[in-house]
Symmetry: C2
Subunit: 364 residues, 2 copies
Amino acid sequence: MTRELIISLDAMGGDHAPDIVIEGASIARERVPNVRFLIFGDETRIVPLLTRYPILKGCCEVHHTDKIISADEKPSQALRRGRDSSMGQTIQSVKDGKAQAAVLAGNTGAQMALAKFILRTMQGIDRPALATLIPTSRGESVMLDLGANVECDENNLVQFAIMGAAFARTVLGVSKPTVAILNVGVEELKGSDAIKNADRILREANIPMDYKGFTEGHGLGGGAVDVVVTDGFTGNIALKTAEGTARMIANLLKRSLNESLLSKIGALFASSSLMSLRNHLDPNNHNGAVFMGLNGLVIKSHGGASAKGFASAIGVAIDMAENDLAGKITRDLKNFNSTAVEQDEDQLAENDDTIVEMNIKEHK
Amino acid sequence: MTRELIISLDAMGGDHAPDIVIEGASIARERVPNVRFLIFGDETRIVPLLTRYPILKGCCEVHHTDKIISADEKPSQALRRGRDSSMGQTIQSVKDGKAQAAVLAGNTGAQMALAKFILRTMQGIDRPALATLIPTSRGESVMLDLGANVECDENNLVQFAIMGAAFARTVLGVSKPTVAILNVGVEELKGSDAIKNADRILREANIPMDYKGFTEGHGLGGGAVDVVVTDGFTGNIALKTAEGTARMIANLLKRSLNESLLSKIGALFASSSLMSLRNHLDPNNHNGAVFMGLNGLVIKSHGGASAKGFASAIGVAIDMAENDLAGKITRDLKNFNSTAVEQDEDQLAENDDTIVEMNIKEHK
């Protein structure tokens, strides 16, 4: 762990940039002393902030950019004029090998477009996917895709499963993660053709995962599996529904506990327990979604994350960089594809046998 | 409210049938004295149970059936051999005008298939949808479809919106409910073509609703709108994700509050507040999903509902029957279609104008 890690940061992305980004980097540096930062953005705003964090100041380089991608910029606009923005330069530093990972909190669509354009998709992956950790009653699970792809075919889903399993092995520390596809029922006859075909392929695939078939929406909160695979439309809705439900309950709980003097006293007694529950569910503690399937590590932070939240996203970047996520995916893809070729050959051989048998029968 | 209501019940459906069904009917009867029941199923099991509920016994008729549709029976099997089962007969009684609504807790796929086959789809509705109430921080919202249709086009979604608005006017008591389509973003350029087209049609439609455009997963728990419209795949996943998240938090909360003596004391003081929150979130209090768009009222109860939960589903059936849900939908559809025809004619007239203009230009 003495190897130096370099993480690039877009200082200008998110609701409270650059303050939150700089403070977040400082928190992350306290946790991981062998990390250095490349910080991209408006130096007239960044440099004065750094005076508050002398340790961070000593382990970062500020690279000035004039341009900033705004929150409402369309992906196509970002592609046209965003290469020399703080966002574009942060990603470019990964492409150029100057940083091992990039962390950005800006406009998601623009980030995705620029990251795909600059880093390109890994060999064997048709479409990148956005993956994140979600809190469950057993701990945490990985879920993907969360919105990079609105429509997905079976090959996309299979590739998401491979990438998600590599994510889980890296971050959750399980050697053979359990994986399932999100569906409206656990029976094999349910769901779209893409889902049913992906299920069939994964049942036969040779990948370091324990494929479990389908899981339903209930399974998300219950932590039924380590990796939940779904298309970007469903994943986005499921994640936001879970977050919205958690927030609703937190609000209702707060309201209930303020209802009477008795309940206020109760809340006081239970405050440390309630706080630990709140910490487990706080999205800031699960911040940091990974754009998977690119030739380079890009981590997306919530735009509204706190400094602590941004530090969590940097933590994900460090984990991924130290544990060679990309290498794992490449190896798994290679194994998967070579098995698939063997199976195709077996299938062809079987077909040949069948044809031979049919010919024999016909001749009888 | 002196008019007598007749509700038919499948006594043999659900995890704890027929006990839960009979006890649930008894609870519902206490709440609504002008209701009578037709109960279908195995009389050797039903009649002994009724001796425990003399009031219920005095206001119900038991109709014996030999056949029961099992939980794992496929919809196609149910169609072939299920017409004279307790499930089939319960639905048939609505078709025959003997009951104003049916309530069933059995196999959902079989119910849907039999209900569609026996009652047929309403004129102007291409596909029925399953709708239910979900708890929010503001109260309750209607959500549909919850799994009747895995894939939906724009016309299905528009019809779901019309039916959902009628549901909200009937049960939530709002004269012009707010309606939105569930999507991955609130911008008009996001989502599938079906979603974008449905959005365009609803913006121009003349229906008693306040159409708000898109809502995201966050909006479900927040109660952003009265009616959330979505396809059956997404709706099923979103509903189950919300239920699973609520259950996860309840489990974690229970665990947290049992952690220390202090927190146990706190829980004791806050117990009545915690109980009222629990009641609001208890799926049994929101039980009763409606198959909308059929020529007859069919209400589906959770298979695992308690007697109180089954009574809630009967309550939904009573509300719907008393407030003429079907009449509302029929009128709204008629208005919507006549406006749509006018708009088509306007469009044709405009096209004619354009053609004329083009001809004039060409001749110049």
